[in-house]
């Protein structure tokens, strides 16, 4: 953990060497989700609500998902760019070091310019919360924090699996975009609005639903009807994101064992 912090610090310093470029890129990142947000806003202006969800409720999810995406892109950029490590054979160097490969790959790159996107989502989050009439309890705040942390784990897990696949394919796979960018676009809305098979897949296989729809039901107090236990159960759903990382780590392990240097 200490090592991870040091990796962070060194890369942060190195990126700050190019201050102007850093600021420009951060500003760009700040603006990227702005058009999606504007789109969301105008759709709600036209339609009023989507399946009984109002703008602020969806904006809350929107903010949470974009935050987690920004965080995971910032922290696990190393996995996102991993195929380059394989292609030029640098992964060999990581293997001979006496630390875990996961840590080293994580530490190989951080993308701090995502701070812009994070900031933007944080503002949206504040806006959404101020527009919602939720009586916040300590546990609800914890659940919200859990949603963000857990979502970060999910995206990181997907990046990790895709990186592990490049042990076999050497090249990065564009199809990963379905799960990263696609997952992001999709989970901007409560996942219940989609077809059943999509909802199921993205709840039980890749648990986006567990950081978006289920805990939101709890926070908004919609899960209370029926037996009282359901609401609490929903609030625990974000934990699925942490569980999701386990099989990802396993795939990574298998991949590392399978690894053959490209030699160059």
């Amino acid at each position: 953990m200490k090592l991870f912090g040091e990796y962070c610090l060194i890369l942060f310093k190195s990126q700050l060497q190019y201050r102007a470029s850093f600021l420009l890129l951060s500003a760009g990142q700040f603006l990227i989700p702005l058009t999606s947000l504007a789109g969301l806003y105008f759709l709600f202006e036209r339609f009023g609500s989507i399946e009984g969800w109002n703008f602020y409720e969806v904006a809350l999810i929107f903010a949470v998902i974009h935050m987690t995406f920004a965080l995971s892109e910032c922290l696990s950029r190393g996995f996102d760019m991993f195929s380059t490590l394989i292609v030029n054979g640098e992964f060999d160097r990581l293997l001979v070091r006496p630390r875990s490969t996961v840590l080293q790959v994580l530490g190989s790159k951080f993308e701090f310019t995502r701070i812009g996107r994070l900031l933007q989502s944080a503002i949206v989050l504040g806006w959404a919360i101020s527009g919602l009439s939720v009586d916040w309890t300590a546990w609800k705040v914890v659940v919200l924090a859990l949603m963000i942390a857990s979502g970060t784990f999910i995206f990181t897990g997907i990046f990790m699996i895709m990186a592990a696949l490049s042990f076999w394919t050497i090249q990065g796979l564009e199809v990963a975009n379905v799960f990263t960018d696609g997952g992001r676009e999709m989970s901007q809305y409560p996942i219940s609005i989609y077809q059943k098979w999509i909802t199921r897949f993205f709840t039980f296989v890749i648990p986006f639903g567990c950081v978006n729809y289920l805990p939101l039901m709890y926070i908004l107090g919609r899960a209370e009807d029926g037996s009282g236990g359901v609401g609490f159960l929903y609030s625990l759903a974000p934990l699925a994101g942490f569980v999701f990382i386990v099989p990802c780590l396993l795939v990574w392990r298998v991949g590392v064992r399978h690894y053959r240097s490209t030699g160059s």
Partner: protein, 267 residues
Amino acid sequence: MKAYVSVFKLRMANGMQYRIAALAGVATQLFFGLIFIMILVAFYRHGGAEMPITLPQLAAYIWLQQACLSLIMLWFRDNELFQLITTGNIAYELCRPTNTYGFWFAKLLAMRLSSAIMRCIPVLFIAFLLPEPYRMSLPPSPVHLILFVVALILGLIILVAISMLIYISTFITMSPTGSLLVFALSGEFLAGLTVPIPLFPGWLQNIIYALPFHWTADFPFRVYSGHISAHDAWLSFPQQLAWIVILVGLGMIAMRAALKRVVVQGG
């Protein structure tokens, strides 16, 4: 003989790489198309009041968007031209006995077309087979189809002319990021790639119709689905042509100005 076989094998493997990349692109586009339509279906289910565009028309709109993505995306990654400018290899380019503007224009056009051909047919094919309400519909008449193709081609020329302006601006800023990113993003927003333009509020639509961006994607797609009648489409072509003249003219002037004071970077 052995050499030919191995060369053939290599070329095949190389081609396969691209095919898999294209296939992955198709899968991504299909997924995005499905998701967007599902969101719109959910919105429409409880929409209540009369909507400015019907759901099947929207489905066609979305699928055409996904299928023709490389024809309508303002930000088509071609770092080669940027590198030419920032590394100074532009000097070679200037030695060519052709008009630089025309040369780049043709290059950008060809790149977009080749990428589109590989991807659009499978996406559309599957989109036609999907169950309602996701199915891609046929245009109301063959006339609409022809008008759509004309509108799309004119739109493509407008789009490339806009992207040329972006490239030319690199001569001045020397960095393709930052402000250009903003330019590309807002351009795509104004072309209806984030939300179909008929769904925008009226005041925003009025702004959008005064800008060139919606001619590249929004207009041809709505001609296809019959949301814009054949008569109106005919009347709109002169506007598209006018934009082409304006944008290409601007681009040529800007290019000449930029090349006059070009400083070749590095050696």
